[in-house]
Symmetry: C2
Subunit: 114 residues, 2 copies
């Protein structure tokens, strides 16, 4: 991501960071209060249960996911969405290859290069 | 949108609000500080230039858009993103049928039913 322009962001030009096996993340547009990231999953890959104080809203851009939030789980598909209030335990399992668009407020500064 | 559950949001079950000609909006997950909406455009439809104090980040989920922010314009495609800082004038033109996923902080309370 260019440090000089986070206004127009071209997914094809951005680096990916490998996370868990079969999971990689790309940081899209962001400012102090708002950050969008794309997360690609291979079928069967997990986003392990975790929590953070940031509020999160996620769009299912591709694929099918089993999503767990605060002990409830549902299966969501392309065009669906989930919202995670502050500090709620949440995670996903990719039932097919898929992509989630995660958005956080405030920004996840822990995702940015030091 | 169920008033009792904004945690798991199924796009297929949500109402659409018609906006400008060829433009309709669906409110996805939201809380006080964060709101995600889906906006569908027919080819040639416009999201007219406007501004608001909310910070906005948008994912191009489908289609190709000419995006104008603060007097600059670029053409963005599926997988691209744009970020709009507070109060910047911005708008889009749909060059094909397409879908934008807009996310705001704080929430756009003006979008919610009274």
């Amino acid at each position: 991501l260019s440090e000089t322009d986070t206004t127009f962001i071209r997914g094809s030009s951005l680096p990916w960071t490998q996370l868990e096996p079969g999971v990689r993340r790309q940081i899209l547009g962001h400012g102090d209060d708002l950050m969008m990231v794309s997360v690609e999953f291979e079928k069967g890959a997990l986003g392990k249960l975790h929590h953070h104080p940031h509020r999160q809203v996620t769009y299912v851009a591709r694929g099918t996911f089993r999503v767990t939030i605060d002990g409830r789980d549902e299966t969501l598909r392309q065009g669906d969405c989930f919202y995670v209030a502050a500090d709620l335990l949440h995670g996903v399992e990719a039932l097919d290859d898929g992509t989630l668009i995660d958005v956080f407020t405030p920004a996840r500064e822990d995702f940015l290069p030091a």
